[in-house]
Symmetry: C2
Subunit: 733 residues, 2 copies
Amino acid sequence: MDIPSFVTSILTSLAVFVVLVLVFTWLSRRPGNATVYYPSLLLRGLDPWEGRGRGTRSPVGWIRQAFTASEPDVVAAGGVDAAVYLVFLSSMFAILAFAGIVLLPVLLPIAGTDNALEDSTGRMPPNVTHFEILSLANIETFVLSELPDCNHRLWAFISAVYWVSFVTYFILWRSYKHVSNLRAAARSTSGVKPQEFAMLVRDVPIPPPDQTIKDSVDSYFRALHPDTFYKAMVVTDITKADKIFQEIEGHKRKIAHAEAVYAESKTANRSEGTRPTHKTGFLGLIGKKVDTIEYCNEQIKDFLPKLEDERKSALSEKQQRAAFVFFNSRAAAASASQTLHAQMFDEWTVAEAPEPREVIWANLPRKIYDRHTRQTVVYLIVFVTVAFYMIPITAISAVTTLEKLREKLPFLKVVVDQPFVKTVLQAYLPQIALIVFLAVLPTLLVSLSKSEGIPSQSHVVRAASGKYFYFIVFNVFIGYAIGSSLFSALEKVIKNPPGIFMTLATRLPGNATFFFTFVALRCFVGYGLELSRLVPLIIFHLKRKYQCKTEEEVRAAWVPGNLRYNTRVPNDMLIVTIVLCYSVITPLILPFGVAYFALGWLIAKNQVLRVYVPSYESNGRMWPHMHTRIIAALMIYQATMIGIISLKKFYYSTILAPLLVISLIFAHTCHARFYPAFAKTPLEVASQQLKETPNMSAIYTAYIPPCLKPDKLQDVQVFEDAQSRTTSRAPSF
Amino acid sequence: MDIPSFVTSILTSLAVFVVLVLVFTWLSRRPGNATVYYPSLLLRGLDPWEGRGRGTRSPVGWIRQAFTASEPDVVAAGGVDAAVYLVFLSSMFAILAFAGIVLLPVLLPIAGTDNALEDSTGRMPPNVTHFEILSLANIETFVLSELPDCNHRLWAFISAVYWVSFVTYFILWRSYKHVSNLRAAARSTSGVKPQEFAMLVRDVPIPPPDQTIKDSVDSYFRALHPDTFYKAMVVTDITKADKIFQEIEGHKRKIAHAEAVYAESKTANRSEGTRPTHKTGFLGLIGKKVDTIEYCNEQIKDFLPKLEDERKSALSEKQQRAAFVFFNSRAAAASASQTLHAQMFDEWTVAEAPEPREVIWANLPRKIYDRHTRQTVVYLIVFVTVAFYMIPITAISAVTTLEKLREKLPFLKVVVDQPFVKTVLQAYLPQIALIVFLAVLPTLLVSLSKSEGIPSQSHVVRAASGKYFYFIVFNVFIGYAIGSSLFSALEKVIKNPPGIFMTLATRLPGNATFFFTFVALRCFVGYGLELSRLVPLIIFHLKRKYQCKTEEEVRAAWVPGNLRYNTRVPNDMLIVTIVLCYSVITPLILPFGVAYFALGWLIAKNQVLRVYVPSYESNGRMWPHMHTRIIAALMIYQATMIGIISLKKFYYSTILAPLLVISLIFAHTCHARFYPAFAKTPLEVASQQLKETPNMSAIYTAYIPPCLKPDKLQDVQVFEDAQSRTTSRAPSF
């Protein structure tokens, strides 16, 4: 293998990063780009140039601002979820930094004093450049591999594994406590949140024929919670109503667009202007040509009564076997949602209500057995995906060397044979292939998770994130590391599961270069692109120039959306796994890991404060999920270390075995201590006094889906009555 | 090996059983034994000879009564727990009976048509007796072992495993549903039960210095449950008070006894009688001689003020960090006990309150971490016990053959060489050794479970039963079956866990005789002794003759106590495991299994109706525990079958593998569907109307431990005030 590719790769990444930061500094100071670089500030009604202006003018102002912003600032800007994500990044930073402080100064000299390193620094041959010292050959064979078998200096490595593990436990425990308090603080604020007064009921049994589902829900919960029950809202099948509603909204947007175009054409030389027209057929390419404004107005007129009919039928006839039940106090709702209601588990299952804006309506009426079946099927699909994506990954690592690529695609020779291109390609090719490859997956995983029957967006994100984590660790890390011998390895694993760690232990040191450059690429290029927002910037400017005519359209073009936790978290977890597993093999990877999380924290904080706008809030429910996976990564590391050190024929390696048990106990203790407050609402928290008397009618209205929402608030009563069959008669109680 | 021992053993068992039943029939008709054979009837105020008298007069009357008694009768006599135990026995009976109906007629001819059996029935050699056909040689080599390798008739055996499995699923599902309804019915009766209004709170945080624990509990729960909170009772350290209380009670009993003795001596020739005396020293053997009545009266006089002081100090100064909280409705208590209260899991943990009479006071104040640690330590001890009891068991199976015993203990020769003694000993020796050996364990396991920090007796029984099950399956079944090769087997198991089933598969057929006789012994002799109650009868008559002087003493001598689920259930489970595992190897064991559970059901029902008096009621919480273990037994069976059939070089044996997965899914589904209603109280059930207004003061008083119970009811307020420091001042709210 050629030596400079490793260093080239890291230096190129760094150069790209510097350029992107400069681009960011320059672009973000142009007022025209404010909507790309400060959308969160704009949406919260803050002026990015005023007040905090001094900071943003200075090229490094954003760094200062990110450092000075306090946690409450972050919560105010991006919600608890964003704050928890920053805690995650800073915890990872702390773990790797503490690990580095001890491992770098201790392990490097220990391994260095009796190996090739001494030769290269002491009596360096004249034809070796300085780059080569830090180069591939050194990295791959560095430190652990250089120690002779059964050397007592291996004790230092064993102690290092213990040090890293206990640092991780300590930091994770503190972080869990911190996040737990953060969540409690957010949940006990005095503001009224509709979801805190509601409970989700699923698996409503089929009512007797003279009752609607709404009536049976009402009577059931009024009987069980006579003092605290407020109202119930039955979930209805809104597919059709929503379709009509979307049609009307689409036509409204078209009218607004057409009017803007018309007004524009007027200001030109012809004062009467051109009335915009379009064709009614497929994609506006065929069919009758019509005046857009008139046509759309007519369409809306046609659709409105249909919507009204559909609303009525949805409310009364399309009731589903799920409902939201509202209580007149937070404590009552919290307590009710934690109480088993029915004797049979498959009836009247209750859960905390998700926020109205993140409810996935179509999933609510799914029955419990349907949910379990779907979950099983989805897990099976994910398992197959994880197992069979290994084939392409294996193919990638087989074509990894440029020579093979040249042989197979001879027409590339002209480009590839140029020395600079060759070096860059050789350094990046496998990594780029891998990254592109991984970009396909998240959307699939989100839609798979959605089809499990999960009731809320934030839960879907957590579920997708979990699946992505398995995928990424198995395929990218383990898959690439054990490389071409994957299938034989798989066969071994089935016969002897712990064997995977021995295989990993054998093969990890040989793949150090790949993962070094991978971490550097993710760190510098990934975060450079994230900070500079080049893609959203270009899309926004293109859209504004060629497409957007109205204010709303421009706004839709720059609204930034969520921090995408479902891909961010697993990717960060992959870096953690890689850096931990290599931390004792070649501690030189630690600075890169530290840099990744330091930069990650800084840039994520900047983006949270200025860019992303959360569309829902789960109050940090992502944390237990992250926590479990960090411990999983730690345990992969510990098991791999046992393998690596026992490969050195150092039989004290079993001294590391208790660490696996300690990790399990730690995970269990954390789960027992902190998790209940994430899964449920503690009564302590729900019983905090509210500043204002809750407006129950507004809380109820918040859960009406947009397509069913009455135009006037006084129609809410009509909405409610439409669900019940007993209202025309005497009330059932 | 000698052939007749197997048949002898079964015939002897049967003979013993018949004798014991005759003894029972004769003894139970003598009025003097009523307290031994009908204590439950007597305690419920029923006359065993009247009303139902006709039945009891007839020798088989008890059988008729046991058959005609309905489930509500059983619940009335022995509580839901007893009814659930009977459901367990009848389910096991049904499973084995259904299995037998198909397996016996199908498998026997299939295996018989091409093997040695044909020879023995068709052309029977003249020197073979009829007994020998059903004898050891046949049993051990019967059916499966006789089939040649890779025979396609093995399909019948595979189908048989499927049949047994699905019969088990079907019966278990029905039984779980039945038990679930039984529990719901019991819990929604309209009678007032104190535990349904109470909640157990543990891990109360240390209160501020100006508050007692009672005050802090009061204020915490009054704030969180303003409308439903009634009162709280803090658990106090009653060790010392209880000791004094027991001293006083002991002295009172002594006085009563002495007075009876004194009165007796008066009716003799001397009219003044002899005042009974005793010595005050160790065991009444040394020390000063005193007049018992005077001495005890003085002692009581001394102790009473001490008890009063101790009561006061216990209430105010020895408050522990646990409490019972009372609510004014069942629904409120049910809901509160299922609601997470504190943000931190290790504070204010809540649970449903156990019945007052089964509370283990000493365990209540244990902190959560203490509990976890204790649990871990206890599990470790149990693991060690299970692992190291294997050594004696192995020793037993090594001395199993009488020849070896004769060699080692030559002085036994005289006895052992007599042919009858020899046969009987040979048939019973290993079994008796095993049974005696097992009798040591339950007490240890109960006290171990108690030291885990479990708050209620019924839970301790469940925990001990679980441990005993592991012990009994691992040691008796697996341990004996893999016999002397145990340690080499153990070594293999550690290296390759599924290997244990291959080992079992190899060795099970060879041990058929042992388990045949074991089942027969348990069935006939065990149930014979159970029914005839010879041991309690003898103890009672001895005590009444030589020890009891007062009515209370006589009563204490015959009070029957609980059905001891902690040993009964695991022993039954062992029989299930044995019979299931042999059901396809030698279906002839099935009739014995069926007989075991049929007799078991009959005799247990008789004992429940007439003998045992439950001292607490867990409303069938034992069932989920039994259910899980039945499935565990089924899975041991399935795994062993895979091993046995693949030993026949029949590679379709993997067709059985899905059964293991199906069993897991079945267990999971049952758990998800039914378990919540066992672990928690459904609100539906708790919201049933009560017949009478609950007397809250009586409910509160029910939880005062006997040694603290005030003599008059109006003192309850004083009792409560003694716990609080704020009562002298203004109330804290």
